[in-house]
C-alpha cells in the first residue's frame, strides 16, 4: 500500500480542509480550549493519522469535524470545508444529510457503539434508510456490506443482536455502518484500541483494504505509533490541543522535527530491541486542557527547551517539503532529539537465585458460577493446567489475548479465586489451601500491581491512609509507619507532599507509583504486575517500566509481568510465557521466544503487533482469523487448532491436532512449546 501511495501525487484539491479550528468547552465562566488553531488538509484516497495522548485534542478535532461535539463543547473559530463547503455554519438538518452520507465515523469501543437492543441488520439498514433508501433495498445492501467486512453466514447473523458478536466482529459491523452510504471520508477514532492484537491486525488490514478499494479518505486517530506506521500516509501530531508537527509519516519517523515526536518515538518499547536498551522516558505527564502551561505546552517536559519556549507559543512553521513543526528550537535549527536524563546502565542484582519464590504446578481454576440450590453447574476452567516458576530478581513475562486466563491466573495466586486443582507454593510453602496462615505467607511474599491505578486506590482515602493501611497489616504502626511511608514514597519517586492528597489529585502515572509503593510496604519478594502500564499514556508507560526495572534490580524482586503488549513484555522480561485459552503454549527466554518463536500462536502474535517502523513490510504477515473460543467449550485436541494457520483448519490431513492435546516440550531452539508441529510456522507464511 505504501508503495502504491508513493507514486501518487496528491491532487491539488483537498477533500477536507480544516482551517484554524478552535473548540472550547464552556463551564460557567471558565472556557477551556480543547483544540486551538488546528489546520490540516485531507486529500482524496489518503490516510491521515492524528496522534496524541489523552487531552491532546485529537478526538475533539474529529468530533468538531462531524459536528458531534458533546455539550457544552462548541467550535469557537475556524472552518471545516468539505469539498469547499463550510460544515461549521450548516444548520443541523443539512449537517444530518452529510453525516453518514459523506463523512462517516468509526468509534473506539465496538462494545458501546452498537445499540444493544437492535439487530445488527437493522442498525445498518437504519444508516441507509435515514438517507432515503427503502426497507427492502436497505436490507439487501446491509447483507452485502456485512459480507464485505468479512462477517460470515450473513443470512443468519444479520438478525442477531450485537451481544452475540465478538469484539472484532462488532467493529466490523461498525465499519459496515460507516461504509453504508459510500462516504468520501471516514473518521476512525482509535478503532482498534479496545481490541486484542490479533483482532487489531484484522481490523487494520480491513480498513487498509477497504480504503484502497473504495477510494475512501481516512482520518485515523490513535495514540499508537505502530498503527500510524502501518496504515497512514500523512501524520499530524497533537499536544495540548495544538498541532505540533505534521508531514508524511515516513519523513517524520525518520527525522522528527519536534521534541515531543522525537521523545515519543524513543519512549515506546520496540519488539526488535532487547530489554537492555533503557527506555528514555519523558518526564512529567501530558497537560490537562484546563491547565495548559504558558508558552509551548510541551516545555515543562522538554529536555531541549529554551527560555522562549516558556513564554511564547511557537507557530506551526513550515520545515521543508510538506512538513511543519511548532518548535522554537527546531525553527532555530537546533537538535530536537531527547537528552536521556539517566542513561547509565544498572547492574542486575547478583546471580539468579536457584530457589523459585513462586512455584505453580498444574494449576486449574474453575470460574463457573457456583451452582445454586438443587443444581450444579459445569466447570469452566479459565486456567487449565498451568505450571510456572518465578525467581527473585527476574521477570517472567506472561502474554496472551484477553480471555486467555492470565488475569485469572494472577488472581488465583493471590487467593481471590479458589484453586480447583494443582499446587501453589510460595517460598517453598504449599499455600494451595489458602488457610489464614497461608494467606499471610502469600501476602508477605507476593504483592499485586493493578492495571487501573485509579480503580485500585480507594477514591475516598488519602494516599497516606492507603499506604498506612498496608503497613498496619504487616505490623508497622505509629511513627514507624510514618517514616516507612515517606521512605516508600520516595522510593517510587514521590515526595511526602502526596501523603494528604486524594487519588483524584494525582495523574495516572503518579497513582501507579502509589500502587507500587503500597505493594512494597509488605516487603514482598515477588510482584505480580497485571497490565501495569496499559491504562497509561504512552509517554508515561516508559516511566513506570523504568521504575519497575529499577526496583527489581535494586531490591532483587521477582516479577510475574502480565501484559498483552508484546513490545513492553519483551522490554522488561527475562523469560516469557505465552498463554492461550487457559494453557501455556510456549515458554522460554525472551530472546528465544521473540527471536525464533516455535508455536504458531506466538508467531501470529508477534507478526500482528504493529511496529513504529513505516518500512516494515505489512503484506506478508500472519494474521489469525476468527476469535478465541470460549473457555466454557474449549476445542478438543490442540486448543489453538481452530485458528491455527498450520493446523487442520488449513491442512486437513493434520488429524492429530483434532484429537491429541500437545504437551509443553522442549524444542531444538531451547524454549518449550506445546505444538505437534513446533517450529514450522514462520512469520509471513499464513
Amino acid at each position: 500500500m505504501i508503495a502504491v501511495m508513493d507514486v501518487l501525487t496528491p491532487p491539488a484539491q483537498p477533500l477536507l480542509k480544516v482551517e484554524h479550528l478552535t473548540t472550547t468547552f464552556d463551564a460557567g465562566k471558565v472556557s477551556v480550549k480543547a483544540v486551538t488553531d488546528v489546520s490540516f488538509d485531507v486529500f482524496p484516497g489518503r490516510v491521515v493519522g492524528i496522534v496524541g495522548e489523552s487531552g491532546s485534542g485529537k478526538s475533539v478535532t474529529a468530533r468538531s469535524i462531524m459536528g458531534l461535539l458533546r455539550a457544552p463543547g462548541r467550535v469557537r473559530e475556524g472552518r471545516v470545508l468539505l469539498n469547499g463547503r463550510n460544515l461549521i455554519d450548516l444548520p443541523e438538518g443539512e449537517m444530518r444529510r452529510i453525516r453518514g452520507k459523506q463523512i462517516a465515523m468509526v468509534f473506539q469501543d465496538p462494545q458501546a457503539a452498537l445499540n444493544p437492543v437492535m439487530r445488527v441488520g437493522d442498525q445498518i439498514a437504519e444508516a441507509l434508510m435515514v438517507h432515503g433508501a427503502d426497507a427492502g433495498s436497505a436490507r439487501d445492501r446491509a447483507k452485502a456490506l456485512l459480507a464485505q467486512v468479512g462477517i460470515p453466514d450473513v443470512e443468519r447473523t444479520i438478525d442477531q443482536y450485537p451481544h452475540e458478536f465478538s469484539g472484532g466482529m462488532r467493529q466490523r459491523v461498525v465499519i459496515a455502518i460507516a461504509l453504508a452510504n459510500d462516504p468520501a471520508l471516514l473518521i476512525a477514532d482509535e478503532p482498534t484500541t479496545a481490541l486484542d492484537v490479533t483482532i487489531q491486525a484484522q481490523i487494520l488490514r480491513l480498513l487498509a483494504d477497504l480504503g484502497r478499494e473504495l477510494n475512501v479518505s481516512i482520518i485515523m486517530i490513535t495514540h499508537d505509533m505502530g498503527v500510524v506506521a502501518e496504515l497512514c500516509d500523512d501524520l499530524i501530531v497533537m499536544y495540548g490541543g495544538r498541532v505540533v508537527e505534521q508531514g508524511p509519516v515516513r519523513d517524520i519517523f525518520a527525522n522528527p522535527r519536534h521534541p515531543y515526536t522525537a521523545a515519543l518515538l524513543k519512549a515506546v518499547p520496540r519488539l526488535d530491541t532487547a530489554g537492555d536498551d533503557p527506555l528514555i522516558a519523558i518526564p512529567g505527564a501530558p497537560p490537562v486542557p484546563l491547565r495548559l502551561p504558558p508558552g509551548c505546552a510541551f516545555h515543562p517536559r522538554c529536555s531541549n527547551a529554551v527560555d522562549k519556549c516558556r513564554v511564547e507559543v511557537p507557530p506551526l512553521a513550515p520545515m521543508g517539503d510538506e512538513r511543519r513543526s511548532a518548535c522554537w528550537v527546531a525553527m532555530a535549527g537546533g537538535d530536537v532529539a531527547p537528552v536521556a536524563a539517566e542513561a547509565t546502565m544498572r547492574a542486575r542484582h547478583g546471580e539468579r537465585e536457584r530457589e523459585p519464590a513462586l512455584r505453580i504446578e498444574g494449576l486449574r481454576t474453575n470460574v463457573a458460577r457456583p451452582g445454586g440450590f438443587l443444581r450444579t453447574s459445569d466447570p469452566v476452567y479459565a486456567v487449565d493446567g498451568v505450571s510456572l516458576e518465578v525467581y527473585p530478581g527476574e521477570t517472567l513475562g506472561l502474554v496472551g489475548e484477553s480471555g486467555c486466563g492470565k488475569s485469572t491466573l494472577s488472581r488465583t495466586i493471590m487467593g481471590i479465586n479458589a484453586v480447583s486443582e494443582g499446587r501453589i507454593s510460595v517460598a517453598r510453602r504449599d499455600v494451595t489451601a489458602m488457610e489464614p496462615e497461608d494467606r499471610r505467607q502469600v501476602s508477605t511474599t507476593i504483592q499485586y500491581i493493578f492495571q487501573d491505578p485509579f480503580a485500585s486506590l480507594n477514591p475516598r482515602r488519602t494516599i497516606g491512609q492507603s499506604i498506612t493501611e498496608a503497613l498496619n497489616v504487616v505490623g508497622i504502626t505509629g511513627a514507624a509507619a510514618e517514616t516507612r511511608m515517606v521512605e516508600l514514597l520516595e522510593r517510587v519517586g514521590l515526595s511526602q507532599d502526596y501523603v494528604p492528597r486524594y487519588p483524584y489529585e494525582l495523574s495516572g502515572g503518579q497513582r501507579q507509583r502509589v500502587g507500587i509503593a503500597r505493594a512494597l510496604s509488605a516487603n514482598p519478594r515477588i510482584l505480580i504486575c497485571d497490565e501495569p502500564v496499559s491504562a497509561l499514556d504512552v509517554s508515561i508507560q516508559a516511566q513506570i517500566i523504568s521504575l519497575l526495572e529499577e526496583l527489581r534490580d535494586d531490591l532483587g524482586l521477582g516479577y510475574l509481568f502480565i501484559a498483552h503488549d508484546l513490545s513492553v513484555v519483551r522490554h522488561i522480561s527475562d523469560r516469557v510465557a505465552v498463554m492461550y485459552l487457559g494453557r501455556i503454549v510456549e515458554i522460554g527466554t525472551a530472546e528465544e521466544v521473540y527471536g525464533n518463536p516455535q508455536h504458531p500462536y506466538t508467531v501470529a502474535l508477534l507478526s500482528s503487533t504493529p511496529e513504529p517502523n513505516p518500512d516494515r513490510s505489512v503484506e506478508n504477515r500472519t494474521i489469525l482469523t476468527g476469535d478465541m473460543p470460549s473457555p466454557a467449550r474449549p476445542p478438543s485436541g490442540c486448543r489453538f487448532r481452530t485458528r491455527c494457520p498450520i493446523g487442520p483448519a488449513f491442512r486437513s490431513e493434520r488429524e492429530i491436532c483434532n484429537t491429541t492435546s500437545p504437551d509443553l516440550v522442549e524444542t531444538p531452539n531451547g524454549q518449550k512449546a506445546a505444538c505437534h508441529f513446533a517450529g514450522e510456522a514462520e512469520p509471513g507464511k499464513a
Binding site: M414, I416, A455, S456, E469, D497
Partner: protein, 287 residues
C-alpha cells in the same frame, strides 16, 4: 501524620465527604431546601418560645374558622390549629431525627453484612425481601400492637420499615464495590474483613444512603400519620401532623380548614426533604 507536617501539609481541608454534601446547598434546589428546613426546624425548635402557653390550651371556641387570631382556625377542643401544627411538626421532626439515623445505620450494616460472610449477606437479603413484601402499614400496625402504642413502638415501626431500602442500597454498593480493584487490593494486602467493610465499602455506600435518608424523613412522617389514621399513633394530647390530619379528616365536611394547615406544613416538609435529596443526589453524582 503530625510529625511530618510540612507547610504543604497545612492545606488543611474540610473532610471532603462533608464538603461534598455541603456543595449541595450551592444549587438552587439545595438552597430552597435549606431555607425550608431551616424555617421548619427553627419554628419547631422555637415553638415553646413562640407559644409558651403550649399546644393544649383548650377553650370553649370549637372549630372556629380561619381568622387573624387563629390563622388555621381552632380544633374541636378550641385549641389553635397553627400552634398544634407547629408542635406536631416538632413531634414529627423529633421522631424522624431519631428514627431515620437508626434505620440508616442498622439498614446499612445489614446490607453490608455480606462483606463479612456471603452467606449472611444472602440471608439478610432474603429477610429484607420479606419485609418489603409485607403490606407496609400492616407491618407497622402489628409492631405497634405488639409493643403497645407510643413513642417506642412508632420508632421501631419506622426503623423496621426503613431497613429494606437502606439495606438494599448498601448491598448494591457492596456487590458493585466488592469487585473493585481497590477492595481486591486491600484483600490481597491481607486487610481484615471488618476493616474492608468499614473503610472501603461503607464510604461508597454513604452517598446513596444519605440521599435515601432525606427521602426517608418524609416516609417516617408518613408512617406516623398512617398509624394515627388507625388510632395507634402518639399518645394524647401530644399533637403530631398525622393525628391532626386524622382528626381533621373527621371534620372535613363541617370544618375543611382543619386539615388545611397540617397538610400545608406536611407538604412543605416533604418538599424540603425531597428537594434536599434531589440536590444531594445531583451533587453526589457530579463528583
Amino acid at each position: 501524620m503530625t510529625e511530618i507536617s510540612t507547610p504543604s501539609h497545612k492545606r488543611s481541608r474540610l473532610n471532603p465527604t462533608l464538603a461534598r454534601y455541603l456543595q449541595a446547598f450551592t444549587t438552587p434546589k439545595g438552597q430552597i431546601a435549606l431555607a425550608l428546613i431551616v424555617l421548619l426546624a427553627g419554628v419547631a425548635l422555637l415553638a415553646p418560645v413562640i407559644y409558651p402557653q403550649g399546644h393544649d390550651l383548650q377553650t370553649r371556641d370549637s372549630l372556629l374558622p380561619v381568622s387573624w387570631a387563629h390563622p388555621f382556625g381552632t380544633d374541636e377542643l378550641g385549641r389553635d390549629i397553627l400552634v398544634r401544627s407547629i408542635y406536631g411538626l416538632r413531634t414529627d421532626l423529633a421522631l424522624a431525627s431519631v428514627a431515620v439515623p437508626i434505620s440508616m445505620i442498622l439498614g446499612t450494616f445489614l446490607g453490608l453484612s455480606g462483606a463479612l460472610s456471603p452467606r449472611l449477606g444472602v440471608l439478610v437479603q432474603r429477610a429484607l425481601d420479606i419485609i418489603v413484601g409485607f403490606p407496609g402499614l400492616i407491618l407497622a400496625i402489628c409492631v405497634v400492637l405488639v409493643l403497645g402504642a407510643g413513642w417506642t413502638a412508632l420508632l421501631v415501626a419506622i426503623v423496621v420499615g426503613g431497613l429494606p431500602s437502606f439495606g438494599r442500597l448498601a448491598r448494591a454498593t457492596l456487590l458493585s464495590q466488592q469487585h473493585q480493584e481497590y477492595v481486591i487490593a486491600a484483600r490481597t494486602l491481607g486487610v481484615d474483613k471488618w476493616r474492608i467493610m468499614v473503610r472501603h465499602i461503607l464510604p461508597n455506600a454513604i452517598d446513596p444512603i444519605i440521599v435515601q435518608g432525606a427521602v426517608f424523613v418524609v416516609a417516617a412522617v408518613f408512617t406516623e400519620a398512617a398509624l394515627s389514621i388507625v388510632g395507634l399513633g402518639l399518645q394524647p394530647p401530644e399533637p403530631s401532623l398525622g393525628i391532626l390530619l386524622n382528626i381533621g379528616m373527621r371534620y372535613i365536611t363541617i370544618a375543611p380548614f382543619y386539615i388545611l394547615g397540617p397538610t400545608l406544613i406536611l407538604l412543605l416538609l416533604a418538599l424540603a426533604f425531597s428537594l434536599l435529596a434531589d440536590a444531594l443526589n445531583r451533587t453526589v453524582n457530579r463528583t
